[in-house]
């Protein structure tokens, strides 16, 4: 029996369509990736987090204009932390030499090869910090649960690029993806306080941040104590500026419970008490 190729094609298409409509419902249960509303989540699954980390590192590499240890350099992780800690600090020549992960050339090949490498430790400045933003954007898209991406991005947008609107937008996106994050709330409060000078909104956001911090488990609180400390100290300063000395002292005392430097906070409390007694004049509002 001779079957027309066109008829066979039509029959196969009809069969494919029928199977697709029949299987569509069941197929959703097979693949978790298909449920993802994130393109990268769908493409890479959990592997996207590796890419997110890599892109976050790229932002750091860009900030240092290519001067960055590779995975092969000695104590690479330690060196990265040292470099990160140097951000914003003026360093002596001696300190900079100690941070030099390259060290002395091991042989003539290494020595000559340094002509073709970035060997100067520099930071982006004067609005060039914008160059790190694409990598932070990608890192956020790939891993919306990586909090550091939002806080670092917002810091540079607010502090260095004078774009508080974009910083707020980025942090609010981070909050949508991480609604219980005290870190993001801390940074958002800074936007309102330092950029918009909106003490009311800053207070509300930081108070919410403290609430979220206190809702965390003891282990999480221990890991995040710097954030908790930051939230409470910022609230204390806010109340101090507003003349609400009692509230300020309360916040400093709360911060002392978790702060790594309770003695410094005690000094702040003492200064406020002196202001309350009139020994130190209050700062003009």
């Amino acid at each position: 029996m001779k079957i027309s190729p066109l008829l066979s094609l039509v029959a196969l298409l009809a069969l494919a369509f029928t199977l697709a409509t029949g299987l569509a419902g069941s197929a959703d249960n097979w693949s978790g990736r298909a449920k993802s509303n994130n393109l990268f989540g769908m493409l890479f699954g959990d592997g996207r987090k590796l890419f997110a980390n890599q892109f976050f590192t790229m932002a750091d590499v860009y900030f240092h204009s290519g001067y960055y240890p590779s995975v092969f350099d000695k104590n690479a992780e330690e060196q990265k932390e040292i470099i990160a800690a140097s951000h914003g600090k003026k360093e002596s020549e001696e300190e900079e030499k100690n941070e030099d992960f390259l060290g002395r050339p091991k042989n003539w090949i290494d020595a000559f090869g340094r002509n073709f490498k970035i060997t100067q430790h520099t930071h982006l400045e004067n609005h060039s910090e914008r160059e790190i933003l694409p990598w932070l954007r990608l890192a956020a898209d790939l891993d919306p649960q990586k909090l550091e991406t939002y806080t670092v991005g917002a810091f540079f947008l607010r502090e260095h690029l004078n774009r508080p609107d974009q910083a707020e937008k980025f942090l609010r996106e981070g909050l949508r993806n991480n609604p219980d994050s005290p870190e993001i709330l801390l940074e958002l409060g800074r936007v309102y306080h330092e950029s918009y000078h909106d003490a009311t909104r800053a207070r509300n956001v930081w108070q919410l941040g403290v609430k979220k911090f206190r809702q965390q488990t003891p282990e999480q609180q221990k890991e995040n104590k710097i954030t908790g400390d930051g939230l409470m100290v910022n609230l204390a300063h806010l109340e101090d500026e507003a003349g609400n000395y009692g509230a300020a002292i309360q916040w400093f005392q709360a911060a002392q419970q978790i702060s790594p430097a309770p003695a410094a906070l005690q000094k702040q409390i003492d200064d406020i008490r002196k202001k309350m007694n009139g020994d130190i004049p209050a700062k003009p509002k």
């Binding site: 204009s65 350099d73 000695k74 002509n115 073709f116 914008r130 160059e131 694409p134 774009r163």
Partner: protein, 259 residues
């Protein structure tokens, strides 16, 4: 020289009559334009990531063009048997090796020039500066590196009959050198003997192609490398090119063409 120039001319004609270059250029252009058109935080002055992506694409495309074009030369001549009327002329096998090398290198140079020119236009339109000397330096070093790679591929094509084998092996070797070459001595130190000895030996005898990658200087606006370093690197590249071409000639001159 006329014979070598004639052989090189045929290689160049073949490249621009094949579609490889145009496909890769269009792909590079589209990806770069796509990357450049994305809006990050409403800031249209961000340019370094575009430079980074474009240069990466240029490096990949140029490497593919160089390796694939060169890997085909001798095997395709043998398979199509065009090597016979060629060698029936007063042309030595050494002429063939040098002519093929020169043709592939010049053809790749033309492709590189077009890629870098496109790169300069795209990035210049964003940041409104054109550090031509820096770009020329990066292009020159890239081209010198490709000379070594092309000579390496020619050597491989004498011994591996299939161009796909030569291409695959060369790309793996070159990628390995670019990624790990500068770190091999560090890696060696953490390994036990005899691996440590072997890696150290490799580190000292292999061509250090990673020196020729000046992308960081271009992306991060780090200016130019010293003329002395440029000159020495060029000589180093020429020496390695000569070594590979000599080995290719030694292998080719004794090869029977009828089997």
């Amino acid at each position: 020289m006329n014979k070598i120039a004639a052989l090189a001319g045929v290689v160049i004609k073949e490249l621009y009559r094949r579609k490889d270059f145009y496909v890769l250029f269009v792909l590079t252009a589209l990806l770069t334009l796509g990357a450049g058109s994305v809006n990050f935080f409403n800031d249209d002055k961000i340019v370094r990531y575009v430079k980074d992506i474009c240069l990466l694409l240029i490096w990949v495309s140029a490497l593919v063009i160089a390796v694939v074009t060169t890997a085909r030369q001798i095997p395709a001549e043998r398979e199509a048997r065009t090597i016979f009327p060629l060698l029936a002329k007063p042309v030595s096998r050494g002429h063939v090796i040098v002519g093929k090398f020169l043709g592939c290198w010049l053809a790749t140079g033309v492709a590189l020039f077009v890629f870098y020119f496109f790169f300069a236009i795209i990035t210049g339109s964003k940041e409104q500066i054109w550090p031509w000397l820096g770009y020329l330096q990066a292009l020159w070093m890239h081209w010198v590196m490709l000379a070594v790679v092309i000579a390496m591929v020619l050597l491989g094509s004498i011994y591996f009959a299939a161009p796909s084998s030569t291409s695959t092996i060369t790309i793996i070797v070159v990628a390995g050198i670019l990624l790990l070459g500068g770190h091999l001595n560090t890696i060696a130190l953490s390994q036990p003997e005899p691996i440590q000895g072997l890696l150290s030996f490799l580190y000292f005898v292999m061509p250090h192609l990673e020196w020729y990658d000046l992308r960081d200087f271009v992306v991060y606006d780090m200016g130019m490398i010293s003329l002395r370093a440029l000159a020495l690197a060029t000589v180093y590249g020429a020496v390695w090119t000569g070594i590979f071409l000599l080995l290719a000639w030694l292998g080719f001159r004794r090869k029977s063409l009828t089997t």
